[in-house]
Symmetry: C2
Subunit: 211 residues, 2 copies
């Protein structure tokens, strides 16, 4: 047995260590520390796609006479640790976004660095808090294809509740075929990144590690 004075001192030190320990990251708010440097534009774009779990899909609204319509959606570009850059979605035509895309494929998908927690006290609109807009065509993925199996693994591993969503809502898998990339990650305007640069990034390296 430790004498009471020594015991109290040990308790004090243990408690102090607990105080100094950083708080455990919450599952809903991952702390992502490995942001690429601003000079690494393609890496930054792929990092944003790999680490976020939701974004805004914008379509041409058929309900609103062709106005743009942004909707909050979940997505995945791969199973954790193996992001490939293509965002896959799990959408139902009960929702206007999927209906719009089936009439007019033109779509953009927008992500912010801000919810990842790495912008600190920088304003979400500040150019150093990165933003990514992927514009292209939202396409249905054939549910019988091998791509659909990969997309399901990608989606269900990051969004486990999706696999239990109501069968009678007829969720379908969509993917964005990327035609244009708009990335702001520093001062000086958007960085030029081609879809092939974006999609081929990391093919000869390890995949982008995603959350």
């Amino acid at each position: 047995m430790l004498p009471p004075a020594r015991l109290a001192l040990v308790l004090a030190l243990a408690a102090a260590l607990l105080v100094l320990r950083p708080p455990a990251p919450s599952a809903a708010r991952p702390i992502v520390a490995d942001k690429p440097a601003p000079s690494e534009a393609t890496a930054t774009a792929r990092w944003l796609a790999a680490h976020n779990t939701w974004g805004v899909l914008s379509t041409i609204s058929s309900d609103l006479n062709g106005a743009p319509f942004g909707n909050v959606v979940s997505y995945s570009d791969g199973v954790p640790g193996e992001g490939h850059g293509i965002p896959y979605f799990y959408l139902t035509t009960l929702d206007p976004t999927a209906r719009d895309a089936l009439e007019d494929e033109r779509t953009s998908f927008t992500l912010s660095e801000f919810p990842l927690g790495t912008c600190g006290n920088i304003d979400p609109e500040n150019p150093t808090c990165a933003k990514l807009t992927l514009t292209g065509k939202l396409k249905l993925v054939d549910l019988q294809s091998s791509e659909a199996e990969l997309a399901k693994s990608a989606l269900f591993s990051k969004h486990p509740e999706m696999k239990d969503w109501p069968k009678n809502h007829h969720f379908k898998i969509f993917k964005l075929e990327i035609e244009n990339i708009f990335l702001i990650d520093w001062f000086g305007g958007p960085k030029p990144i081609s879809p092939s640069q974006y999609l081929e990034f990391g093919r000869n390296q390890h995949s982008v590690v995603s959350s």
Copy 2:
């Protein structure tokens, strides 16, 4: 002087109290607990507008031949504690969103409950994690008007760094004139809310308390 054993015990108790104290909320990630009930659709829409600080503005892209283009922007609907529901923005025509809106005013603005931290472990696409899309026209606010003064107070109080943004970027104040409201805050599809219901909410009560 306390004897060493007593001093160590006091230190242990003080440290234990620090351990038990919940972590202070970060300015960038406010913890917002007063979400209205799902039956209170208009209150929920105004709560989302009052508590978020950024969202996605979607325009018809002139650079991309009329494709929808979503962009991450900061906004404010009033000084903290006095949200009025109309989102104001501080945008430069160096950025495509402002240029698009000056050519075609049709715009939507999309907000998610997810970054507020009140969805817990619910998926961002789950209908109980609320989403708001305000669609209408993005209008320039005359910088000489009294509305511009109100808008500046609203924006600069929630986004203090804006007032130091480069003068030669010619930032202008825009507002969304709301024509359509799309709110999902529960199962069963979007809630019908008219722009006047939304804008008049709380006029005879205290304003919606915003972060």
